[in-house]
């Protein structure tokens, strides 16, 4: 198909003659003894940036490695975590219906939430115009579990079995009260879209642990209802494009356009990519645009994924007992349960950051029913994932994170009855948990007041959470920076403190 081209590339475009001179200069350097000396000097001067264009003769492995190579002086200290799975519960799970047990509320059913508790906080437009803000105690029963005696409601029976591996953060706080800004804030450290997500920062800072799959993969539960998710949440922002999260879809093709078109056997694809690489190199020499390099590495990654993705998305070698543990949904590709199982497989293959999104936690009304049905979908697989990672010894260096973008209010949005209530968004206090690499197991940090409204002890702001997460990967959040539009940016911008009390 394309094996009769000349190896020496010459353009007939006048504008590109400058490039050809550069090519000649490189050949000159290569072929003369002076060139050897100059190259030696070049390397002494740390000139890998000067000669950063990919060598024509590099193997595909070398091309990928160029991006994986550590040029940033990282890690700053010995990491505890090697990989992470972030179970994002989109919508804002109700903390006082799941983990933040508030027994005093049951005596206050229907009473007005005291002004002293609200202390003048602005509410959303959804409940801000309500004439009354009646306290809605949780309909769920709470019990203490495990040696750590952690409180869990009966909405999450499976998770209650693994509480001794979890590290609850009960005093989470965010700045944002609405979904899009809050979820963007949680994933990128800023409420406006355009900053790199956590996974992109880790990919940029630490590189890849495997050659066949992307460093950062996103899985979204299928048929999700509620607030929409958008790709900027796993976007690379201003970081080089190869660090963006790759979304695996549910259904036949987890990654679109990987399979070969009909009637094409793909045999000369390697050949085609090599030649395309040569052309792209020419273009890169002309324009010096790093995005050309990013594109080249993505072609190589796509080529590798043609074999690696079908392999990893094939769950047929999993035992029946595994499917049983993750629940019967796990046989249905695209569900949260199947994604949990797939996530474990991806982590095993050396993917550094797997991000799950599960929508549907936005219980403005019918809160008890909503919490119950979302728990039913997520509780068993989440607990199974913890158990599975633990028995395989992976929890030792895998960080598991569970949480949404904010919490929910103690007062009822809409009408309050004994069995039913709604809850509005609440940014001032919510619960998240972490497990695994480097975080204290069977531990609970932070406290809220009797209304789960204000944090009274050990608050953890989103920026602090980010700083701690990076710390677990051996990264000092103040030193992982990227210069863009004239200033250096960090995941935590100018904020954030590592919460050392959470660490082992």
């Amino acid at each position: 198909m394309c094996n009769n081209h000349h190896k020496k590339l010459r353009s007939n475009n006048k504008d590109l003659h400058e490039i050809e001179k550069q090519v000649d200069r490189r050949d000159f350097l290569k072929k003369t003894s002076l060139g050897l000396g100059a190259l030696a000097l070049g390397s002494l001067l740390g000139a890998d940036k000067m000669f950063a264009s990919i060598n024509k003769n590099s193997t595909p492995e070398e091309i990928l490695n160029t991006y994986n190579k550590n040029r940033l002086g990282l890690p700053h200290h010995l990491p505890k975590a090697k990989r992470i799975i972030y179970l994002f519960q989109s919508g804002g799970p109700s903390q006082m219906d799941l983990f933040d047990y508030k027994p005093k509320l049951s005596d206050m059913f229907g009473k007005e939430l005291p002004d002293s508790v609200m202390s003048g906080q602005r509410l959303t437009g959804m409940s801000g115009n309500q004439s009354t803000l009646p306290i809605a105690p949780s309909v769920f029963n709470f019990k203490q579990y495990g040696e750590s005696r952690a409180w869990v409601s009966d909405a999450m029976p499976y998770l209650s079995e693994v509480v001794d591996d979890l590290c609850f953060i009960k005093g989470m706080q965010t700045d944002q009260i609405n979904h899009t800004p809050a979820i963007t804030f949680m994933q990128t450290g800023n409420q406006l879209p355009g900053r790199p997500s956590i996974g992109s920062w880790l990919s940029y800072g630490l590189g890849s642990d495997n050659e066949n799959l992307p460093t950062f993969i996103t899985l979204v539960s299928k048929n999700g209802k509620g607030q929409p998710l958008k790709s900027s949440l796993w976007g690379n922002g201003f970081l080089p494009t190869e660090h963006q999260g790759v979304q695996f879809r549910s259904g036949k093709d987890p990654v679109l356009y990987l399979s070969d078109p009909e009637n094409y056997d793909g045999n000369d694809r390697r050949h085609m990519l090599d030649y395309l690489g040569d052309l792209n190199n020419l273009q890169h020499d002309a324009y010096g645009d790093p995005e050309i390099q990013a594109r080249m590495s993505q072609y190589e990654m796509a080529f590798k994924m043609q074999t690696s993705v079908p392999e990893v998305s094939d769950l047929s070698d999993e035992s029946d007992s595994t499917f049983e543990m993750y629940g019967k949904d796990s046989r249905d590709p695209g569900t949260y349960a199947a994604n949990c199982l797939m996530a474990r497989k991806l982590l095993e293959k050396g993917v550094k950051f797997v991000q799950l999104y599960h929508q549907g936690w936005d219980q403005h009304n019918y809160c008890p029913g909503g919490v119950k049905s979302q728990s039913k979908k997520t509780d068993q697989p989440t607990a199974a994932l913890i158990k599975d990672l633990k028995q395989r010894g992976m929890l030792d260096d895998t960080l598991v994170v569970w949480g949404g973008e904010f919490g929910r209010t103690v007062y009822s949005q809409g009408q309050l009855t004994k069995e039913n209530y709604g809850r509005d968004h609440h940014p001032k206090a919510f619960t998240m948990w972490m497990a695994g690499a480097g975080v204290k197991p069977g531990f609970s940090y932070g406290e809220t007041d009797d209304f789960s409204y204000n944090v009274v002890k050990d608050p953890v702001h989103v920026h602090d959470f980010h700083a701690t997460l990076l710390h677990l990967f051996g990264v000092d959040h103040e030193r992982l920076t990227f210069k863009h539009q004239g200033r250096r940016y960090r995941l935590t911008d100018v904020h954030g403190n590592v919460v050392k009390d959470l660490l082992t």
């Binding site: 550590n70 002086g73 990282l74 890690p75 700053h76 200290h77 010995l78 990491p79 090697k82 079995e161 693994v162 642990d209 495997n210 050396g350 158990k387 633990k390 028995q391 395989r392 010894g393 030792d396 260096d397 051996g474 050392k500 009390d501 082992t504």
Partner: protein, 461 residues
């Protein structure tokens, strides 16, 4: 005064430390030529002496002028400067005198048996040494030279060691060592960069050119803290470029001192409130109740890029765990060694022997690893995390692992080990977790096993 000095003069002045080495070289060389020409009885050598002396004199003169320019910056203590100043001039004069004697413009008769040119050269070498020494004291501080002198038993006025944090003096035990380490070399009585000395409480209170450095009770307004918190690229950032910056912990301690004890120099920890994070940092600094949770990282030899490449050729992936620590995570991807080719593994593992001390984490999962192979692994003595799951290894392999004294976790799921290994695990001092799912170890084997004993044995759930 310093404001009246043009920048250009200061610019030239900074070349003084560079130029001073020329006269030292020339003059010492002249002296050596004189000696050798006498020992070897080779008069040819002597012809170079006048030139060496002349160049020495001229370069000394230039050094003096530049030195004077440097002194105008006002960064140096007047007393220490004086000696260096006059000895420097003496050296220059003496160099010219020695030159004149040598070319016989000055004729002196021998006094007893001492020849004047030898005498002049000897004196010159002595004077230049003294000058150099005073100069060194100005730059590095007067205790720099002999600090590491063997048998130097004279310790600095040491505070009594404390056994608990309450007894420690906030300044004396916690803050002073930090300043000593990171600040004093430029801010002492003989070298007062920016007019500031931090040698004692009096000089610290008097501050520097830009005023007081301490605002008791308010670290954020104190120049001492402000300067270390600036952007490292800022011109005013301290310590200046090339010196080790203060760590987060050190800054926390200084902040705590200024805020809680109002930058007092005598307050003890017992008398002020101490937050939890400061307790941790301070205890570590004083070596009290050290955090024994983690095994310290070893210092190891550098691994060359060629060596890394040759190991990666075998299918291993190496990842440096801390930048430039030469400590590595080594992973052999599962199924790299396949059935029928089991004997390859031994050769591969032997390739790791040159970096055996550099391996901190090792993962050889599902690669047909045998008990015999584990013998090689047991030579990697710095391993902290070891993953050998899904390999046909037995209790014998675990015996070998006893050599890995730093191991904190071991993954053996899917191996053939039995409950016999439980006893071996408990002999491993640092081991915290042993993963033994899908082995011959069962729940009932753990019944006799004391739960409070480390390590934790993790079976499936």
């Amino acid at each position: 005064m310093e404001n009246s000095v043009p920048d250009f003069v200061l610019f030239l002045g900074r070349f003084h430390p560079l130029v001073v080495h020329l006269p030292i070289g020339f003059l010492v060389f002249a002296f050596l030529l004189e000696i050798f020409s006498r020992i070897k009885k080779n008069p040819v050598l002597t012809t170079a002496i006048p030139l060496a002396l002349f160049l020495g004199g001229v370069s000394a003169l230039v050094a003096c002028i530049l030195g004077y320019m440097l002194s105008l910056s006002g960064d140096y203590d007047d007393n220490a400067l004086d000696s260096h100043f006059w000895f420097g001039i003496a050296t220059t004069v003496l160099a010219f005198v020695a030159w004149l004697i040598r070319i016989e413009k000055i004729k002196l008769s021998n006094y007893k048996k001492i020849q004047p040119n030898i005498a002049a050269l000897t004196l010159l070498v002595i004077v230049i040494s003294v000058t150099g020494h005073y100069g060194g004291n100005l730059t590095h501080g007067s205790d720099y030279l002999v600090k590491y002198l063997p048998f130097n038993t004279e310790e600095k006025t040491e505070l009594a060691a404390v056994t608990n944090l309450e007894e420690a003096e906030v300044y004396g035990h916690l803050v002073a060592p930090i300043l000593e380490n990171k600040c004093i070399s430029c801010h002492n009585d003989s070298k007062k960069k920016g007019g500031l000395s931090m040698i004692d409480s009096v000089s610290m209170h008097s501050g520097g050119k830009s005023g007081a450095i301490l605002v008791p009770g308010s670290a954020n307004e104190s120049e001492l803290v402000k300067r270390v918190l600036l952007d490292p690229h800022n011109e005013d950032f301290m310590p200046p470029e090339g010196k080790t910056p203060l760590t987060e912990e050190e800054i926390a301690i200084i902040t705590y001192w200024i805020n809680s004890s109002n930058a007092d120099f005598k307050t003890k920890v017992a008398n002020v409130e101490i937050p939890e994070n400061i307790t941790t940092i301070a205890s570590t600094m004083l070596g009290l109740g050290a955090n024994n949770n983690t095994v310290a990282l070893p210092t190891v030899a550098k691994v060359s890029n060629e060596l890394i490449a040759s190991i990666e050729k075998e299918g291993f992936k190496l990842k440096e765990l801390v930048f430039e620590s030469n400590l590595f995570e080594v992973v052999l991807a599962p199924n790299t060694v396949v059935e029928g080719k089991e004997n390859q593994l031994k050769a591969k593992l032997e390739k790791l022997l040159p970096i055996k001390e550099n391996i901190i984490w090792l993962s050889i999962e599902n690669n047909k690893l045998t008990d015999e192979n584990v013998q090689i692994v047991s030579q990697f003595t710095n391993i902290q995390k070891l993953k050998l799951s899904e390999n046909p290894i037995s209790d014998n392999a675990i015996q070998h692992l006893l050599k890995l004294k730093n191991m904190t976790s071991v993954n053996l799921f899917g191996t053939k080990i039995t409950s016999k290994s439980l006893e071996v695990f408990s002999k491993m001092e640092n081991l915290k977790y042993a993963y033994v799912w899908q082995t011959n170890i069962e729940q009932k084997d753990l019944e006799g096993y004391n739960k409070t004993n480390t390590p934790k044995i993790i079976l499936g759930m």
